[in-house]
Symmetry: C2
């Protein structure tokens, strides 16, 4: 039931859907600049007749939460949004969660086009945030609009969330959970490339400070290059990554080359071409398996660094310093036979004519907060290209965005239960 | 003759000498902030009755010189100084050249004391610039003062130079040469640890831009880490360094572990812990042998990078970019049996009771400009500790500073010839 209405409405709305995505992409909602993109979402929700809860996060209660890992000082002007299509009662509720923040666009010269162009070409919309995850957010808004425009009344609440801070640790979703938003299920349309991810990797940011010994570059043999020592550290970290991933090469991770990677995101060392650099700072992301705790994961890196500081003659004298800073994302997991998985799976098959691929996510999502802190079962499923997230020339296929909208709309109608007219 | 007068005057002036050095060190004369330290030198020269030529460098003529390699926009408020003790005529002239600029102090935590303390402890003065090369500059000023105070009149001119910009390529000395200051010989008291350096290594700064491919850290296998690719480049550069140094393991370089090093001074890559870095920028110093031209030296790095860009599948697609930027220092060389070498050698033996060690310098000096552009024979000889240059906890031994002053004073008297009273 309603399948034809939904499909027809979506087919007719493709052009408007692309325009909405383009408008969202053209607002570069990097951290601290989410406000203008968020305003577009708020106006859309208002047009849909949703109850709007728009607030600036960052109160004392949030900051004191044991899972608040955020280093951002100021949230002013960049609010969180929850918009609710209230049900008539007695149905199951659902959270539809997407983040509005995007990561920096990186080196502009790697982009074939302006990074925030939103250009439509060959059925794809290009730009930072298309795949991660404004395209997914548009799928959510389309799903709700399709239901509203089809005149379908639901029993359960549909709780749409457009949150800030996902890319920096999820303080936006944590704030929403703490504001009381929980549900019987949640869908997060992060870029899964149309796969279903019941398991999500967690992650933490770490910093390593490696000390060398300065000297004039002409007598570099009198110094110890902090860059050279950082290379040694990075080599050991690659080995740790291998050891940590060995036990995960099974089941839901079987198609993932490195299930829980350790990524070195930046290396900064030295400030004078003619001097041997005396300090190197490495910052990175430490992947956490859905099967382990944050503390177990941390311990494996702590032990590696301690071992290096004991074994290496130089590090014995100048120990490597390990810090955990900034963002952390809790891992999440849901049984693969959970009713929400089944419901999405059913409509996936109807819309796409094949069984969905079920995998574990290569990255953390806000699902960790929804499930761990908010006790809400989470499936991550979205139209974006996994491999394009955070990359230059990021794009999303419009077809997939529309199909995801259809699958999600039908899932909502089933999950929240339509009132019979 | 005059040996006793000079020795006695210096012995009595030790405390004042240390105080002058401390005052100089306490003015952090990093690039662009040389003015206040220079002011102390100017006042000292005025007290010594020298002819003072104080000017701001940077005119069109200088900027158009084929060996002007400076990226500094503004020299305002930080003048060059030449101060002359005019001879009575017919004697040989001598340039005494020292630079007033110091390199940045680096990581403060590596210093046991405040980097610009000038603290005297166990016969050493500590602080950035003590060894490189304000201690040497004090030796020059002491030598001149000893001669003046001993009432010695010379036939040849003594041309004292306190220049800026040595650490960034030598534009200060080039400006002095272009202003007409040439002589029959020159002494530069860079930190040779009391050795004589008739040969000086040249050097050039280079920048390598290495491109990777960005991706989300959770799927880092979809990207190519610019840091990983930079590590590959650094490894090849170490091999090139080995190849370049093999033919130099002889004669004056026999005690130098790496005669002409290639130093990687900085590596900057990435700006987000959860992203694979897409660009890495390496900056470094390329040592040039006294036996080769700048162009020959450049060619060896150019060829390496071209070969990597052809051989490596990734670099074929995203070539490494090589740039030569900022500072360059010309190499310099003088015959080991040049009269100036012999004269310094003679007084070295008298003062220190042993033969001087003659070596090739591990770094470039302003001697390249004096000899190549100014046709002035140069010996580099100074009291600083070679290995402490640019390092934390830099110091100079006061004994060596005083001995260098004595050797230089006697060399000047001999070289420029004292008028008989």
């Amino acid at each position: 039931m309603y399948e034809n209405e939904i499909r027809t409405w979506l087919k007719d709305s493709r052009t408007k859907a692309v325009q909405l995505l383009q408008k969202l992409v053209q607002e570069p909602s990097r951290r601290g600049q989410e406000g203008s993109a968020q305003a577009i979402v708020v106006e859309k929700c208002r047009q849909l007749g949703l109850e709007i809860d728009l607030w600036e996060i960052g109160d004392e209660q949030l900051r004191n939460h044991p899972h608040f890992y955020c280093d951002r000082k100021d949230f002013k002007g960049n609010p969180n949004l929850v918009a609710i299509k209230r049900g008539t009662g007695s149905g199951k509720s659902i959270i539809l969660n997407g983040h509005i923040d995007v990561v920096p666009e990186g080196d502009h010269s790697a982009w074939q086009d302006e990074p925030y162009s939103g250009r439509l070409m060959d059925g794809k919309v290009f730009g930072r945030g298309t795949t991660d995850m404004k395209g997914g957010n548009v799928s959510l808004l389309l799903a709700i609009e399709a239901i509203v425009e089809s005149g379908i009344q639901l029993k359960g609440d549909v709780i749409f969330q457009s949150v800030i801070e996902e890319e920096s640790g999820g303080a936006g979703t944590l704030a929403a959970v703490m504001r009381g938003y929980k549900a019987d299920g949640a869908i997060i349309p992060e870029p899964t490339n149309m796969k279903l991810f019941p398991l999500q990797q967690g992650s933490m940011w770490f910093r390593l400070i490696v000390t060398g010994k300065s000297a004039h570059g002409g007598t570099r043999y009198e110094g110890v290059s902090a860059i050279d020592k950082a290379v040694v550290v990075m080599k050991e970290i690659k080995q740790l990554e291998q050891v940590r991933n060995e036990p995960l090469r099974h089941s839901l991770y079987k198609n993932v080359p490195i299930p829980v990677p350790i990524n070195i995101g930046s290396l900064t060392s030295g400030n004078w071409p003619s001097s041997v650099p005396d300090t190197a700072v490495l910052e990175g992301r430490f992947g956490i398996a859905p099967t382990e705790t944050m503390e177990e994961a941390q311990m494996s890196l702590i032990q590696l660094i301690e071992a290096m500081n004991e074994r290496d003659e130089w590090f014995k004298e100048k120990p490597i310093i390990l810090e955990w800073f900034g963002a952390r994302w809790l891992p999440g997991s849901l049984e693969t036979n959970h009713p929400l998985m089944k419901t999405i799976g059913t409509y996936y098959e109807k819309v796409r004519g094949k069984e969905p691929v079920v995998e574990a996510s290569p990255w953390a999502t806000d699902g960790g907060y929804l499930s761990t802190v908010g006790s809400t079962p989470v499936v991550v499923f979205g139209p974006g290209e996994t491999k394009l997230a955070h990359d230059a020339n990021e794009y999303i296929e419009v077809d997939k965005m529309m199909q995801a909208a259809e699958i999600i709309a039908l899932t909502i109608i089933d999950w929240c239960e339509a009132e019979q007219n």
